[in-house]
């Protein structure tokens, strides 16, 4: 296996436990998701892999080499897209991408060719010769991705690569993430966007408060939800209910929307209940479908304040198991 992390512990200031015994491994050609809410310890873990942060205990190996004692090896072999913006204010997009390619050891011709390929594939040609300072946050983040992908190491670490990026280019970016794995890199994708991760990763680990709470494929993690369905209700404007029935488990409420799990044996009862709400004019529409990774995520993380809901902001918490 390419990247192997074993029992990783990081304590800051003697009492802040950022990583609490994290273990995982990533294979060559695999896109591996690291999911968790803000403050779960994802970036702390990444910073230990590339030698910015010293683990309190535990081991990190890349290609069998211990990179805790040899951080230079990690930097030679990991391409990294930081969560923070890259320092390219005075550089054009092309200059920034090519410079990193050359610094990582690529030769001029292959770096230029690959830069052009990435710019074309991600459709950022119109900004290719614009200075970093003038680029929008989303385009800068795509450029940062290109900087990580131009001459990829055997491990590619992408920390929240799709933040600020428009939906069309997000799809293009996911294609490029997949092709990095196809080219032979092990891709570690750090995100809190569960819906996107479900489509993009081969396997994933969910961490919360520094601990691994689940590892496997999206299907593995959803396994425990197999005998459940997902029910989504959209309120009429101005309507809400103060209490929902027990049959709606792990419910997440946004302004006009409630999403929860329904046990399969209670599906008929739930549909009747939803239909009655619709007839009373409380609910505008409702949807019943198979559970998603997001449902498994909410169950594992045990809180509802962490899930991105596509419409509206989460305003309150109805039930947390």
């Amino acid at each position: 296996m390419l990247l192997k992390i074993n029992d990783l512990v990081k304590v800051f200031n003697k009492n802040i436990l950022a990583n609490d015994g994290i273990s995982l491994h990533i294979e060559k050609g695999e896109v591996f998701g690291l999911l968790g809410p803000n403050g779960a310890g994802k970036t702390t873990m990444v910073n230990q892999i590339i030698g910015l942060t010293m683990p309190t205990s535990g081991s990190i190996n890349i290609n069998g080499i211990d990179v805790v004692s040899n951080p230079d090896y990690a930097r030679q072999n990991c391409s990294f897209q930081s969560q923070t913006q890259v320092p390219i204010a005075g550089l054009t997009a092309i200059q920034a991408i090519e410079l990193v390619g050359l610094i990582r050891g690529g030769n001029n011709i292959e770096v230029q060719k690959r830069t052009k390929q990435l710019i074309d594939n991600l459709e950022i040609g119109e900004w290719a010769n614009k200075m970093g300072a003038t680029l929008s946050g989303g385009v800068r983040r795509i450029v940062a991705f290109c900087m990580a992908a131009v001459f990829p190491g055997s491990v590619v670490i992408l920390d929240e690569p799709t933040n600020d990026i428009d939906p069309v280019r997000r799809r293009l970016l996911w294609n490029q993430v997949r092709s990095l794995a196809d080219m032979g890199s092990a891709v570690l994708l750090v995100t809190h966007n569960v819906l996107e991760a479900e489509r993009a990763v081969d396997r994933l680990t969910i961490i919360d408060q520094g601990k691994v709470v689940g590892t496997g494929t999206a299907a593995d993690l959803k396994g425990q939800d197999e005998d459940h369905m997902r029910l989504e209700l959209v309120f009429e404007p101005g309507m809400q209910f103060s209490e929902h029935p027990d049959l709606l488990e792990h419910a997440v409420t946004s302004r006009r929307r409630v999403i929860g799990r329904i046990a399969e044996k209670k599906v008929v009862e739930a549909l009747e209940w939803a239909q009655s709400l619709k007839e009373k004019g409380v609910v505008e529409e409702f949807f019943l479908g198979p559970t998603t990774l997001e449902d498994a995520y909410v169950r594992m993380v045990g809180r509802t304040d962490v899930v991105e809901i596509t419409e509206g902001d989460i305003v309150n918490e109805q039930s947390t198991s």
């Binding site: 910073n47 910015l52 930097r75 923070t84 320092p87 410079l99 050359l102 610094i103 990582r104």
Partner: protein
């Protein structure tokens, strides 16, 4: 081309391009400060003789370099720290001291025009001649590199960028008012003289005076003390940027 040299040149390009938007402005400001220093001396000392002017003007490189190294640099590096620049740059497969070398090169280039112009205009304006020895090249380089490395020590050693910023505010005051550059060391109280016997500022000024004029200074001692401070700055910077959180 060795890997280190290749990395250095690539980073030099990166830093030069990054600084490009403000580089001409930085240089212009440094040149204006240099000219202002030369002319402003006449306001401080209305009866300025050319001998005294020579003494003061040849201390100007030290003031200019320390203002850049110990004040401007920690402020700009502090901003970069805040923006997460180093989290990215330190993740690249390059020795970190190579990054510092590339960055320091840019700072030397920023400092150089001001240093040269202050000397040239100062000599012409105040009517004295310079006696430039070849040692002035290593001398001025040593002052600049020491200033820059000590600047990095402050910038990366301060627990927070804001603290580095505060330190620079104090240093402006110390360098301008409480250092024997704008006036002879004999005018300082004894306790401050003792402190300046250890600090590099007086010796930096001696280095530029001793290599640019015929003024009698202990050049050997100046090279040793400034060289020692340069080594301290190098070692401190090395360990500060190498450490992991």
């Amino acid at each position: 081309m060795s890997r280190a040299l290749r990395s250095y040149l690539l980073l030099l390009k990166w830093q030069a391009l990054s600084q490009k938007p403000i580089l001409p402005l930085s240089m212009a400001v440094q040149i204006m400060i240099a000219i202002g220093f030369v002319i402003g001396l006449s306001f401080f000392y209305p009866e300025l003789s050319s001998t005294i002017a020579k003494y003061l003007i040849t201390g100007a490189p030290t003031i200019i370099i320390l203002m850049i190294g110990l004040v401007l640099l920690p402020q700009i590096v502090g901003m970069a720290r805040k923006e997460g620049t180093f989290d990215y740059m330190w993740s690249l497969p390059i020795p970190r001291m190579i990054y510092i070398a590339a960055d320091a090169t840019i700072w030397v280039l920023v400092a150089l025009p001001g240093v040269i112009i202050s000397l040239a205009i100062g000599a012409a304006y105040h009517g004295f001649s310079l006696d430039i020895s070849l040692l002035s090249i290593p001398g001025l380089l040593l002052i600049t590199i020491s200033g820059v490395l000590l600047g990095y020590t402050i910038a990366h050693g301060a627990p927070k960028p804001e603290i580095a910023h505060l330190i620079t505010q104090v240093l402006v005051f110390v360098i301008m008012i409480f250092s024997p550059v704008m006036y002879p060391v004999e005018q300082l109280p004894n306790w401050l003289v003792q402190i300046h016997n250890v600090l590099p500022i007086k010796y930096m000024a001696d280095l530029s005076r001793g290599t640019l004029t015929d003024l009698d200074v202990n050049l050997g001692l100046a090279f040793i003390v400034v060289g020692a401070w340069c080594a301290v700055g190098f070692v401190a910077t090395y360990f500060l940027i190498k450490r992991r959180r």
